[in-house]
Symmetry: D2
Subunit: 339 residues, 4 copies
């Protein structure tokens, strides 16, 4: 298992009843552009060593984060059958390169949408190795429907900024774009101005550890310290997945460039304003309005969503039964490598 | 530059007038299945460090050897425009996974055949980033035409086995197949029996350092030491590229599973017997007869070629002007990353 | 050159007129106890590769930070003559282990005190390979004497906390102690209370990136955010070396556990209160009062120093001409490895 | 556990009733001088990761091979109490640097001789952390006394060269000297000539994988292939430890530069001719005659031993009960780090 410093992935895995066999600490300090490459290099070295000690029957590689390619390289180079989840989707960044490379290195593909399956066939993957089983993230979204918002213990999430009452609130989640670092600062500023003007309760999530995080954090911190904010923004680093989904279910809207606005929110029906190129080309449902990272565009999109309100549930990325289907499918595999 | 222990790549590069900026020693001992992964992991770590020190405008990644992905990962993760050579070709092995992953990670593609271009377009690469400039290896094949066989100093290549006169000889080059290790030993034995029966002068090249090399070397050595060979086999570890091509030009035939039989020999017109799955699906010209790794099949193919003799020159993989075209094209790039 | 994220070492090196040949980015994220080991492992891998490319005549290893052993391992394992600076000193921590291991791996020793030379002889190092040339850090201390305090641009050092006037101020520099992490938080609290009660202008320096830094930073930040401080503490991350020395020359006292209080301040004559075990056994002059990390002890020591005022210059760690002596000595070496 | 490619260490460990928790494959290809450093770097990275997953109470570091420092770095940097075995001995090479560095990094010392204990005290290690429990290798030597030579299955050790009858034989074991590579070839030649002239049955062991092995192997192979040998030399790569000791017990003499001639053979009473600097300064008993690597010196030493015959058992390196003593001592530790 590859570890990063954000969130409590490990706790979540344990909560789901899995035993963690081995943790790999491979995160190189993100002081410059080498860190993604070096983090990946370390992961390959240590994963391959773990694999030869523990001889997994199958390796399951997820999505498109930069370090995931470490798993698909280690397993494919060691002749271990490899499954890749979320292949065939389209985004607008290094994620795209990584996701497609993962596809090429993998032997089986669990895709999440019909279009993704078409894409993989076009790329040359064999039809009988591609399975559209939906995205497990939608399972969680489905589970979140069973949880009462009022029962959630949001107070346990510490953050900085204003205390909010979680009424008529919006959620902001904006990640730095890896190869557009220079623009990130500007975009965060713009986004901040929009939110400030909007004057609604806002939960602003700290971005993940892609390059540029420090930049983003600084920008947010600077605003906060200069008291240039309205009194309705609460900055928080992390929500447990399920709690975040319950939050989104209740939110008036999500603004930013996270995939959650497109994937989980399509199922939840939460309006999403998707800014900039990060999610370019990703399949989206009715709940998404795309806009460029400029102030008036974002405002226009926000207004439109506020007028419309929440959307109907859309099965675009799965029906919430993906986990079960995946487990059933893996059992059937005889584990043959791609010819 | 990534170093391996076989051959004198470095000398060749210097001979071509290039200065070597930095050498990376990343080869992990090939004692077990982890070595390809770990060798790659080390290369990523060191290449990225070199890149941030020397800020290359462009990174040029070649073909499909397992460690090439280290270059495409380091460069793409550091937002350096990446060119991949030989994308879109098809073979039957881990090479395929690596080559396609390299394509996905790269921003520009210099392909070698028309079909390869079609394949990349299908994979989703943008047409205007794909350039069919032929394969530089054919340039060398063309150059070899200008060299008189009689002028070559083959005596400088030390080896073991019998001394041969380089008359009516055949060339053998058989690489282990990574995910069919168990079969490799058997196939080498079969091949040896064919060659022994054929009773022609034979130059047998040591395989490269893919996993299983030791296996192959042992098998060859065992035969040799037991004197179970005819007296016409000369085992040699390495030829300088150009010398090898002159040798092939003169050879009656090449037998094995190397790409050289398909690529360079299509241009040279040298008959090639291609054994087993390693070159599966690679585009081939008239000079190639494919066969399974069994004795009678190989013998049949050999016989057919001996009857036919050499073939006409085929431009399938380029016209021998690829290097010049590539240089001209690189100069034109503005170095934009794939969107 | 091995890089870390604190301070602007690189700028300082350039300012001194040296060209930086190569930078190595080897810092692993300090999320847990593996980071010092992994950072060192990466440094060994990359330094050895740099060494074989650039074939240094001699490698110069400095002091006792954990990653310095990477240099002495890479060079000694590659038969490159290795000089170690600051061997034979005594402290109370992992630094001790690293410093002595560096000594064992090195061929020449540039020590800074007479006692250190004795210690190395006892350890079995050959007398004629040990040179007491003083500590180059004292050269800087000497240089600082030529700079007028009033000319310094302290305003360029941004920090948080109160603005101070640099009059009758004290300096605090307290590093976490690696194998006493659990106590670090407590000690910082105690120290804070002392400073708060003392009610003098205080410049508090952020600790370096040894394990536990986050802990320290949090503690400081927590105090600051709760406004539980007097209005005379200014927290700052970094001073340029020379500026820091000018500051110390002027300071009423330094409090903490940094070696600077013992080394440079012996030359400068600045009173130093040295807390806890981190500098245990390090040779010290009259300017140092040691105390345990408890409130009354620290207060007593502070009081004593305030009564006494500054001390006379002491040549214990060198006379400020070390750099010149070192350069002259290196030139003379024929570079023979230790037998 | 760190793996290398020579011998069957793993099998031996299992035979002794231990379960192997994890294997680390860290051996970098020994194509040039970087390999020892890089092999060590990789080991540090992977060992530290294993340590944080499995939290050992104590780490036990053995002797002075270059990669052993990886264990003492990983454990000391992670505050794990570290025991070092065989500290305080003296040899004439990089081994010396490594052994002493291991001492400095370790918290407890299990030495094998009285002089070693004195040496460690001189180096500054605390007397109550040093335990002279003898060398476990002598336990094996003692065990070998209980095994009848006639019962041994030496025929299972395949090698090349002549078949021998194991009567009146001598044993050769000569390791390359790391920082005298250039001389190694010459010395092996000289040694070969001596052995050839001696005309006794000889078992020549392949050297271990220190740098220069290839050199040595080539030299031996070259002799062998040119049939320039008498017909009494049998080259073999490996003996199981215990079998090797039984062999030595019976041998007329051991010639070379291995520590076994000095350590185990002092207990066994086997005459040893020790050539060159590799074992310089190591404590030795009456059974050892030292000589320079020149022909007449070696011959003189051989002659003297032949005249004298076997020596009496000497407890210099232990009485054969070391293992038991070590186990009993470890149990008593509370695991406190060196202050």
């Amino acid at each position: 298992m590859i570890i990063n410093k954000h969130g409590n992935v490990i706790e979540n895995i344990k909560k789901d009843g899995f035993k963690i066999g081995y943790k790999i600490h491979n995160l190189v300090s993100d002081e410059n552009l080498t860190y993604q490459a070096k983090t990946t290099g370390l992961a390959i070295i240590e994963l391959s060593n773990y694999f030869i000690n523990n001889k997994p029957d199958i390796v399951f590689v997820i999505a498109d984060r930069f370090e995931t390619i470490a798993a698909s390289i280690a397993s494919s180079y060691m002749n271990i059958p490899t499954i890749h989840l979320q292949g065939g989707e389209l985004t607008g960044n290094i994620d795209n390169k990584v996701r497609n490379a993962n596809t090429c290195l993998s032997d089986y593909h669990f895709v999440c949408t019909k279009k993704s399956k078409q894409k993989l066939i076009q790329m040359g993957e064999s039809k009988d190795r591609i399975f559209n089983l939906g995205c497990p993230s939608i399972d969680l979204a489905k589970e979140s429907l069973t949880i009462k918002f009022e029962k959630l213990k949001f107070f346990k999430y510490t953050g900085v900024g204003s205390k909010i009452k979680y009424q008529d609130f919006i959620v902001v989640l904006y990640h730095p774009v890896t190869n557009e670092i220079e623009k990130t600062r500007k975009n965060i500023r713009t986004l901040f101005e929009v939110i400030n003007d909007l004057n609604m309760e806002t939960i602003w999530l700290w971005p993940n550890h892609d390059l540029g995080t420090d930049l983003a954090s600084k920008e947010i911190r600077s605003k906060r310290e200069k008291n240039k904010t309205n009194n309705k923004i609460f900055y928080v680093k992390h929500f447990d997945s399920i709690d975040f989904l319950v939050l989104l279910r209740k939110a008036k809207m999500i603004i930013g460039n996270s995939s959650v606005g497109i994937r989980e929110c399509s199922f939840l029906g939460t309006p999403a304003v998707n800014i900039g190129s990060r999610q370019n080309n990703r399949e989206r449902g009715r709940n998404v309005i795309d806009c460029s990272p400029n102030k008036s565009d974002i405002k226009k999109a926000v207004k439109k969503h506020l007028q419309h309100g929440r959307y109907k549930c859309d099965y675009l990325y799965g029906d919430g039964e993906s986990g079960r289907k995946i487990a059933n499918q893996i059992i059937k595999f005889k584990g043959e490598l791609k010819p």
